[in-house]
Symmetry: C2
């Protein structure tokens, strides 16, 4: 019996989903601080910052940063001391470097954090590469801009 | 023995994480179509559109829409026929209405989709409300704009 050739399994992206409870509330209602924090996080993870959008709600903040490697997003509920952080990164960069920046600044008393694999695909096997490689798609160059 | 009063458990947001494989590739590399699709999805779910950002990469598209109820994000890899969709919605709106719009247009051959609860908090019990209520924070009014 011969095993079927299944190809090489690749993971296109890594997505950290973080629930941060008991955060430093001074940050959670300040849109400028939150945007600066996400941008700092993207820089520390050596991501390519493409655009950012931040909105201040009553109460709370939404901040999104598009990076060449996907996106970072944070939504805050200062009234509950809670922040929802997403760091979605494709390529070889490490999303945990960005997560750590936010963690260290918001100082949550409790976190629930998960890393999801995004885009697990199988491509024809070309070499002896092991499975579960991370696809490296770099450099990723913005070629146009709308919206 | 009396059970400790634990308060009422509330869920602030619902987050659909969708892996769409075998999508209609005409869409996946067209930034305008992708942005229009996300905006249509937000509208169908009766979300309050605040801002959108779309970028065209080589190859692929990133499109993000900030809504009053959180955000929608899509990243595409047309070379693999794959799209990563996130629909994060707080309040009483239904994220599946937005998901369905994208699903119907991209026609993926295979999907892996999960709904995550975001921000599960416990507040002092005030009434006989059952647990796992969705917090309704509406209307959410943008009060400033930066970025």
């Amino acid at each position: 019996m011969q095993k079927a050739m299944r190809g090489t399994r690749l993971t296109l992206g890594r997505h950290i989903v973080a629930e941060m409870y008991g955060c430093d509330r001074r940050y959670l209602s300040d849109p400028q601080l939150m945007e600066e924090l996400l941008i700092e996080a993207a820089r520390k993870a050596e991501l390519t910052i493409v655009a950012s959008k931040t909105h201040n709600f009553i109460p709370g903040v939404t901040s999104l940063v598009i990076v060449g490697e996907s996106h970072l997003a944070i939504h805050t509920w200062p009234e509950y001391g809670y922040a929802a952080l997403d760091v979605f990164v494709c390529g070889s960069k490490d999303p945990w470097k960005a997560y750590n920046v936010v963690y260290e600044k918001l100082k949550p008393e409790r976190v629930k954090v998960t890393e999801l694999k995004r885009g697990v695909i199988t491509v024809p096997r070309k070499s002896r590469d092991t499975t579960d490689n991370i696809v490296i798609r770099e450099p990723i160059i913005p070629s146009s801009h709308s919206g």
